[in-house]
């Protein structure tokens, strides 16, 4: 459905009723207080010494290495979780079977786990103290305190996003459309591509955005398994921490503000999808 326009297109005057205006006010105030303000604080710190200092922060080999590592990590973790998430949502939302609630709750679990613990479990699995970890180190295979550990921790932390975003929506939509398609002779894949996917595309988009945001922004878990080696195992969040601890506030907040531009990605992705949907509707 199309959202209602609250201002007159030509005059720009408000024309909503009291409730809608109140709701808009509450939303704006709430988001401004809880999200916009902290974001503004980040940018205020980043630009404290002017835009030159801001851009200079990125011209640093350690910063670039951190950006590369973060992109690599997200590029592995997000697609894997999307594949898993869609599959899990499909079997949970479209079928009835015992133990479903336990399965859903297990999927939620990584959210409830403190990032410190999320990192720790991989240390417990691959650390030198364990038989497996000791053997791996003998073979010169590095898992923790190297890139694979960072990827694993990120996958763990972002694991539930896609599945959890899709499940409630797909449950609500039910199975009628898919069943109709099957009864008309469609195969499994084409049912998914032609019926299910268009129905869930918004939720899928949100979940990918969230998953990606979290994958790039994760600090706690990654911090435990990374070893903080400059230029080697520092992701953007870890690099920010390093800079902050070195009293380089401007650089720290400048690099952190990069992540704020993920919001722009959201904006662009939504606009494209909206535009495509509109074009399709017209046809």
């Amino acid at each position: 459905m199309r959202p209602r326009r609250i201002t007159n297109k030509k005059t720009g005057r408000l024309r909503g009723n009291a409730t809608s205006l109140l709701l808009i006010f509450i939303t704006t105030a709430f988001l401004a207080l809880f999200v916009l303000l902290p974001l503004a604080a980040v940018f205020a710190e980043a630009f404290r010494k002017g835009s030159e200092a801001y851009f200079a922060s990125f011209n640093d080999r350690y910063a670039l290495a951190a950006i590369r590592l973060t992109l690599l990590t997200a590029a592995i973790a997000v697609p894997m979780n999307v594949v898993f998430g869609v599959m899990a949502a499909w079997c949970i939302a479209k079928f009835e079977f015992p133990g479903k609630n336990i399965l859903i709750t297990l999927i939620d679990l990584p959210f409830a786990i403190s990032p410190v613990i999320a990192g720790l479990i991989f240390v417990l699995a691959f650390g030198r103290q364990t038989a497996l970890g000791g053997w791996l180190i003998e073979q010169d295979i590095k898992i923790i305190f190297a890139v694979p550990g960072i990827v694993l921790a990120t996958i763990f932390v972002t694991f539930p996003f896609v599945a959890r975003e899709l499940i409630p929506l797909m449950q609500e939509q039910g199975t009628l459309e898919e069943e109709a398609a099957v009864s008309l002779g469609a195969g499994g894949w084409s049912v998914f591509w032609k019926v299910t996917l268009p129905n869930i595309k918004w939720a899928l988009l949100y979940s990918v955005i969230l998953c990606n945001a979290r994958a790039m922004g994760e600090f706690g878990a990654v911090s435990v398994v990374s070893g903080h080696i400059r230029g080697v195992t520092n992701t953007i969040p870890l690099h920010v921490e390093t800079l902050y601890a070195e009293y380089s506030y401007v650089s720290a907040f400048s690099v952190a503000s990069l992540l704020a531009f993920l919001g722009l990605v959201t904006l662009v992705a939504k606009t494209i999808l909206e535009w495509k949907t509109k074009r399709k509707d017209k046809r």
Partner: protein
């Protein structure tokens, strides 16, 4: 019939999707988590109880669960309003608001913590005015609550948005044409159909808050018995090379959150079943 396990359905793909989901879940989540329990087992039962029931840790449970619950409730209410506004109305600045909803995820938790402290510390943008009125926000449980609200917000908004988008305007109009007031339409028609999504958002925000560490340690002040969260105590144990103690507390937190979330998920499931 091959799958006695599930109820019959004409849809394909159950075996494969469930298989992949379970294997992936097992490898990425359950296997590593079982190591937590395994590590705890080096403690005897009485040692375990002594660790997880000490006064300092119990105080931290209270703070963590209390502040997380409160934050999740606030997020559920305001997140609902925000999601509603963002899907239903068009107004200047809407796209910006919509785009920044994900910020609490994208910002590294440490950065959020520092930014929030910049704002709410006694010399901060907002904290200053409260300090003048004799009220402290940062370095008190209120600070913890604010940090937890911040990090949980996207869950509620982003889970609700697709569901609200999906609502059929016609049903609402039908309800109204049958004489229902706006309020009745909301309570009887809209809320029930987005309730699963709202409950999910609430659960996720709550769960996330329980484990949060990075943003809280900057704003909480970390005073034992007063503003120390459980995640910090786990970290403290680790700093002392006490892996068994750290995993013991984690196991308790894990068990508690699992049960809580299971209850919420079950309630939802029964509610849906009752409706059918």
């Amino acid at each position: 019939m091959k799958w006695k396990f599930k109820q019959h359905s004409v849809l394909p793909g159950f075996g494969m999707t469930l298989g992949v989901a379970l294997t992936y879940l097992g490898l990425i989540v359950l296997l590593p988590l079982s190591l937590l329990v395994w590590n705890t087992s080096s403690l005897s039962w009485s040692e375990f109880l002594k660790v997880v029931c000490s006064a300092q840790i119990v105080a931290s449970y209270k703070l963590t669960f209390g502040a997380s619950f409160l934050a999740a409730v606030v997020n559920a209410v305001f997140g609902f309003i925000a999601a509603w506004t963002l899907t239903r109305y068009r107004f200047p600045g809407k796209k910006l608001l919509d785009a920044i909803v994900d910020m609490p995820f994208a910002m590294p938790t440490a950065v959020s913590g520092i930014a929030l402290t910049t704002i709410y510390a006694p010399n901060g943008w907002i904290g200053y005015w409260f300090a003048k009125a004799g009220m402290k926000i940062a370095y008190t449980p209120i600070g913890v609550f604010i940090a937890l609200t911040f990090i949980g917000l996207p869950f509620v908004v982003r889970t609700l948005q697709p569901s609200l988008d999906d609502l059929d305007k016609e049903i609402e109009e039908a309800a109204e044409s049958l004489g229902a007031t706006k309020w009745q339409t909301f309570w009887r028609v809209i809320l029930p159909s987005v309730l699963p999504a709202l409950a999910t958002g609430f659960t996720l925000a709550f769960a996330r808050a329980l484990g949060e560490y990075g943003s809280v340690v900057f704003i909480s002040g970390n005073l034992p018995m007063k503003t120390e969260i459980t995640a910090l105590l786990i970290y403290t144990k680790l700093e002392q090379f006490d892996y068994a103690g750290a995993t013991a507390i984690s196991v308790v937190m894990l068990g508690a959150s699992f049960v809580l979330m299971l209850i919420i998920n079950m309630t939802q499931w029964y509610a849906r079943k009752g409706k059918k």
